[in-house]
């Protein structure tokens, strides 16, 4: 907890905007607090001979329309404005945070009532309510700010409720419940820390808003007559706008600076907070960036794709000199554990790595042609196709399946709308979807994960590619669906004599569908062999370790114990 907070403060202090805002706000607060020491005049004492006096030693910023010292009023006015805004924000937070916590955590009845009340409050026009309050109770700005806080509370409530609802779905909250923690403790330890940051950001924005509203009301003459305030100064300056326009500058500047500083500080806080999420979760770095180039590859002219000495690096090298070849009609399995660089290799061939990746390859041959890496995007989708791991996140939720299937065909194959539709329906039937018409006009959320993967496979083969690259295509699927999808891929691959690279960590899948296997460890191919040979006679110790880890052939536990 404390470490994360420190990180947030440090990131915030690295942002120049945040530093300026904090400095400005610090100055304003300090000046307001020290007003009695800094101002040589009482803010409310008027002296007729000083009416609209120009700046002088006695009145550094001059005097206003009834001869009161502008500097003193500015300093004391800061007190009123800041204090008033503080009251409003405190009320909003004090009401919004606990109700949001309770509604988000327990939901049900309280949530229904609280949300209904919040919606009602939000529908009320704030200014009208404030004018009524001030008219009824007289000119008490702090009471008005309490009411304004009440009207801002629903905003806080909704924000907190939304963040709590998402945190309480986290497994660590369930784990805390199973650990026997009481609800109060769970809220304090696990939920409150998560909602603090959004609350602080929201509070900064509300501060600015409260100052604007308050100054507006005072400008209309609804503030207390006995207290200096920025709004009242504006009112006075407005009355003298033709004789002494400079009087508008000081309170205007004070309001603008304070509000802008709060607003920008809120933004800086949000940026600092997002930064903390981006920085985590780095892939484990390879330990041995050795110069070993992996097993040699034999080329006899029938290769569809040849890659030599492919390297991918971010901060560290994640793929260190991978060479591989795929023939037409051959399935190459790329196996390894997480962090072995198998997906990075596949993405590098597809040219789909993020811009911060540094990719170099000694040689890239596709269908006998030397290929520059810049030429890969032109082949992607048409001659080189891709099947992803997560079928759902690779379909755009806002378009129908049909539109997503026909668009590439119309672009690459220049088919007419009707022809593309016919072909898409044929493909859907081919990949084993029973009611192609229905799926064609469905949105992605209306179909199952297995169905979505079939759709993506249909899309991948729609432009008759020569090479299909599949990244863990069945990992997210149930075993029975996995078996069906593998059957489908096998039949499509042999029927079209496609070359295929299948990235997987599952040796069962390798045994099922692959012709050759390349085993990857820390960015390098440590062993490559025809599938039967690899399983029968693994050479590299890492391959042997992986094969020994498979549980498929382990004896059932019941039997083990009977034998013992």
């Amino acid at each position: 907890m404390s470490e994360r907070r420190q990180g947030l403060t440090r990131r915030l202090l690295r942002d120049p905007v945040a530093i300026v805002c904090l400095a400005v706000l610090g100055l304003i607060v300090l000046a307001s607090v020290l007003a009695p020491l800094l101002a040589s005049h009482d803010p409310n004492t008027s002296s007729l001979q000083d009416t609209l006096a120009p700046p002088s030693g006695d009145h550094p910023l001059g005097a206003d329309g009834v001869g009161r010292d502008v500097l003193a009023r500015l300093l004391y006015g800061g007190r009123t404005s800041l204090l008033g805004a503080l009251v409003a924000v405190a009320v909003a937070v004090a009401l919004g945070v606990p109700t949001g916590l309770i509604a988000g955590y327990y939901r049900r009845g309280f949530d229904a009532v609280a949300s209904w009340t919040a919606n009602l409050l939000m529908a009320i026009p704030a200014i009208v309510v404030l004018l009524v309050v001030l008219a009824v109770v007289g000119q008490n700005m702090y009471l008005a700010m309490v009411v304004f806080g009440l009207l801002m509370a629903p905003g806080v409530y909704r924000l907190i409720r939304a963040s709590v609802t998402s945190v309480r779905e986290e497994l660590y909250v369930d784990a805390a419940r199973v650990s026997g923690l009481g609800d109060a403790r769970i809220m304090r330890r696990h939920i409150l820390p998560v909602v603090i940051a959004p609350t602080v950001i929201q509070a900064a924005q509300m501060f600015g808003l409260a100052i604007v509203i308050q100054s507006g009301l005072e400008f209309l003459g609804l503030g207390s007559a006995s207290e200096a305030s920025w709004g009242a100064m504006l009112n006075d300056a407005f009355a003298n706008i033709y004789t002494k326009p400079i009087l508008l500058l000081w309170p205007g500047l004070a309001v603008a600076l304070t509000v802008a500083a709060f607003g920008l500080l809120g933004n800086a806080l949000r940026d600092a907070l997002n930064g903390s999420r981006r920085a985590s979760n780095k892939a484990p770095a390879p330990t041995t960036p050795a110069a070993m180039a992996g097993p040699a590859i034999h080329i006899d002219g029938d290769e569809l794709l040849v890659v030599r000495d492919l390297r991918v690096a971010y901060d560290q090298e994640v793929v260190g000199g991978v060479s591989l070849a795929v023939r037409r009609g051959e399935v190459l399995g790329l196996v390894g554990e997480s962090g072995s660089g198998k997906t990075q290799t596949a993405f590098a061939i597809l040219g789909l790595l993020p811009p911060e990746a540094r990719v170099s390859s000694g040689q890239l041959l596709f269908d006998g042609q030397q290929l520059s890496r810049a030429a890969v995007p032109k082949l992607r989708g048409r001659r080189i196709a891709y099947v992803p791991q997560e079928p759902m996140s690779n379909l755009d939720p806002s378009f129908r399946i049909g539109a997503q299937l026909t668009e590439p065909m119309r672009r690459h194959l220049k088919l007419s709308r009707a022809a593309a539709r016919r072909k898409a329906l044929d493909l859907l039937a081919r990949v084993g979807i029973e009611d192609p018409e229905r799926v064609y006009s469905s949105y992605p959320h209306q179909i199952s994960g297995g169905m979505a993967q079939r759709v993506l496979i249909a899309g991948a083969v729609s432009c008759d590619p020569d090479l299909l690259i599949a990244d863990e295509p069945t990992t997210a699927l149930d075993v029975t669906v996995q078996a069906e999808v593998l059957d489908l891929m096998r039949s499509l691959q042999s029927e079209r004599r496609m070359g295929m690279i299948l990235v997987t960590h599952n040796f069962g899948v390798v045994a099922d569908i692959c012709d050759r296997v390349a085993v990857m460890q820390t960015g390098q191919i440590v062993e490559s062999a025809p599938v039967a040979e690899l399983f029968a006679n693994p050479q590299h110790p890492y391959t042997r370790m992986l094969l020994d880890s498979t549980l498929e052939d382990s004896a059932p536990r019941t039997r083990q114990e009977e034998m013992a």
């Binding site: 369930d174 805390a176 199973v178 026997g180 997480s338 149930d478 029975t480 549980l551 019941t558």
Partner: protein, 275 residues
């Protein structure tokens, strides 16, 4: 008498929207787990296996049937009574990334369940060192945050948290599914070793028949909210009776090209025969 007895359990989630029919996730499930025994619960996504685990933990709404623990009905307890059971029943979740609070150090995560029982901080910290040792994590792991650990290590932290109260039953919800192959077998061996040493019982939920065969004494197979087959691990995972279990078994690919070709042919034959 068995440790956990589930009898005709029904779990329903309220339907989404006004007056929509509730969704029945469990349709009358009966199971039992003996002391020190591992019951493997296999099924595909949506079969209700996770819901069953959550019902045992008191995290899912039970709308029919009973769960008895040690002879006592626990499916009708209120929140406070339920908390008292945390000494007895613990959990290890699937995802080691979201089951540990990212903002708390490992020591805070592990001492938390102890401190609520009134154990002193010194005693709790001593116990944490012991727990870290039991799950083979370095002693200085306590000062670090979860994100500094790999998936397998995080799952060890979750196991340590489950063990901290010396429970007699741990619900393990897909605890090794997110792990690499070699890590997976090491974590499973840790589960087995802990069971042999402490005599804790496991309700081990997974979709992977190979995993379930490795760790279970008995296996129950779930399909669409019902148990379709129960029996000892060897029988259910090698010669299953129910057609769904057979389909499940034949769908799991074997890491051996020849045997897999045979299994595939067998599976296609089974599907042909059904059609």
């Amino acid at each position: 008498m068995s440790l956990l007895d589930i009898d005709d359990l029904v779990v329903e989630y309220p339907g989404k929207g006004w007056r929509r029919a509730p969704f029945r996730a469990l349709k009358g499930v009966s199971l039992s787990i003996g002391t020190g025994e591992t019951l493997g619960l296999v099924g595909e996504s949506g079969s209700g296996k996770t819901t069953l685990g959550r019902a045992v933990l008191g995290l899912a709404p039970v709308s029919g049937g009973t769960i008895r623990y040690d002879g006592r009905v626990i499916s009708t307890l209120n929140r406070a009574q339920r908390r008292a059971l945390s000494d007895e029943i613990q959990v290890v979740f699937q995802d080691p990334y979201t089951s540990l609070n990212p903002a708390m150090t490992v020591e805070d995560i592990l001492t938390e369940p102890l401190l609520v029982t009134g154990v002193s901080r010194v005693e709790a910290e001593r116990r944490v060192r012991d727990l870290l040792d039991q799950v083979r994590l370095p002693a200085d792991a306590g000062q670090r945050l979860p994100r500094e650990f790999s998936g397998g290590q995080r799952q060890r932290i979750a196991i340590a948290r489950a063990l901290s109260r010396d429970p007699r039953l741990i619900v393990c919800d897909e605890p090794v599914s997110a792990l690499d192959l070699s890590t997976q077998s090491r974590v499973l061996d840790l589960f087995i070793e802990i069971q042999e040493r402490t005599g804790v019982a496991y309700l081990f939920i997974t979709h992977d028949l190979a995993v379930v065969r490795h760790i279970s004494h008995r296996v129950a197979v779930m399909y669409r909210g019902e148990i379709v087959e129960t029996g000892d691990a060897a029988t259910v995972t090698q010669n299953p009776e129910h057609p769904y279990t057979r389909r499940l078994l034949l769908a799991a690919p074997v890491p051996d090209p020849e045997r897999q070709a045979r299994r595939r042919a067998e599976r296609l034959a089974l599907l042909e025969g059904r059609a």
